[in-house]
């Protein structure tokens, strides 16, 4: 990571911390959701050999939020996975800010293209 002029060291430490916190936080949420799910449904039988697609409340952001509020294990797992997906997105957003502070307009533009693609994927069809 060589962003010159704004303290390379500082940016590296922030990005490293951001990634570590993001991964640890999402893994913990997935683990908590998993415990609840296994406690309640551990002895049920499952078969994933045919694809049905997850129900609405486990594939949309509002659905997952509602399920989490209701303390549903599977919804909490999905919340953790959403946080995991959001971690690289947050990192790209942070890079845009770092390039802006450096007044590197070319790389601000490049970073915003990447950010737009990521946000499109996360929200455009996730409603």
């Amino acid at each position: 990571m060589t962003i010159k002029g704004w303290g390379d060291q500082r940016i590296e430490i922030i990005v490293g911390t951001l990634l570590r916190v993001g991964v640890l936080l999402s893994a913990s949420v997935v683990l908590i959701g998993g415990m609840i799910y296994l406690t309640r449904h551990g002895h049920e039988h499952i078969n994933y050999s045919t694809f049905h697609g997850e129900p609405e409340n486990l594939k949309s952001i509002p659905g997952i939020a509602k399920g989490t509020a209701g303390f549903h294990g599977q919804a909490i797992i999905q919340l953790g996975l959403l946080l995991l997906i959001a971690t690289p997105v947050a990192r790209v957003a942070f890079s845009a800010v770092a390039f802006a502070i450096e007044r590197d307009s070319m790389y601000v533009a490049i970073t915003l293209v990447v950010l737009a693609v990521l946000l499109y994927s996360l929200f455009a069809s996730g409603g």
Binding site: D8, L19, L38, K59, I110, L122
Partner: protein, 278 residues
């Protein structure tokens, strides 16, 4: 199979996949999909969803460690991510048009190619080259730490590298893998970036690329909590453990063994895809 048993077996298998993936540098995601489809008879769509999120977890976890060492080049990474993320969206849309069987066959060939690449793994760098005008314009040249202090490097082959990255993005979005092998090929072979820089930069790009299609897969219902939970936690724990003992381990033999396993899995994916069993 009961939920408890399935969770336990998939988590154990994913731990092993992440562990071997970190030790050999091939990544754990590449064996998670064959494991789920061939061993546990999980539909390939669910397997792709689970693999994608585990790829994000290992990439972010490893990048957190690498980023402090100063090898990765954020400008190269960000510039090429415009190609990989758009490619990943294209791949995720193509996935809607092709059957699970065709995806299995393509996956099998990618496995065979990854195994081939790993068998001719090297760490020697090509001789230093002069930067191309486009690389200068995009300010892709950089420095990286060596035992003898900072070493400067210059970059070339930008259009070829960019094209390969677009392809890597399509594969990632179509198959739910990191495509690390293609990314390193683009940076190492086409753009002549030093090995240490290309592997670490590729690693941090993998998470961003996977995130570009993961949102779409989530809203399509491919990401099933009952599968993604043991896969993600298992691969993450395994890869962190693998990275920890990497310094002490002698991986040469292990790399060949793992490459052999991947060849076998690749052949089986192709066979099952062609005979319509996946």
């Amino acid at each position: 199979m009961s939920v408890l048993l399935f969770t336990f077996l998939v988590a154990s298998g994913s731990f092993l996949a992440g562990f071997l993936g970190a030790l050999t540098g091939l990544g754990g995601g590449v064996v998670v999909i064959p494991m789920l489809t061939l061993l546990f008879h999980v539909d390939i769509k669910y397997a792709i969803g689970a693999s994608l999120v585990s790829v994000i977890a290992t990439s972010s976890g490893a990048a957190a460690a690498y980023v402090r060492e100063g090898y990765s080049n954020i400008r190269i990474g960000m510039f090429l991510e415009t190609a990989t993320t758009i490619g990943a969206l294209v791949g995720a849309f193509v996935a809607l048009l092709v059957s699970g069987s065709s995806i299995a066959v393509i996956f099998g060939f990618v496995l065979l190619y990854s195994a081939y690449l790993s068998s001719r793994h090297r760490e020697a760098d090509a001789p230093a080259i002069k930067a191309s005008p486009l690389a200068n314009k995009l300010r892709l040249n950089g420095d990286y730490p060596t035992p003898q202090g900072l070493e400067h490097y210059e970059v070339t082959g930008v259009p070829a590298g960019y094209g390969l990255m677009f392809g890597a993005g399509i594969l990632s979005g179509l198959l739910g893998i990191g495509s690390g092998a293609v990314k390193v090929l683009a940076m190492d072979q086409a753009m002549k970036i030093p090995f240490k820089v290309s592997t670490t930069t590729s690693n941090f790009m993998i998470g961003v690329t996977a995130a570009a299609s993961a949102g779409l897969y989530l809203s399509r219902g491919y990401i099933s909590p009952g599968i993604a939970m043991p896969v993600t936690l298992g691969v993450l724990a395994g890869s962190l453990f693998g990275a920890k003992i990497l310094a002490k381990a002698r991986v040469k033999v292990l790399r060949y063994v793992f490459a052999g396993v991947i060849v076998a899995l690749g052949a089986e994916m192709i066979f099952n895809g062609i005979t319509g069993r996946i």
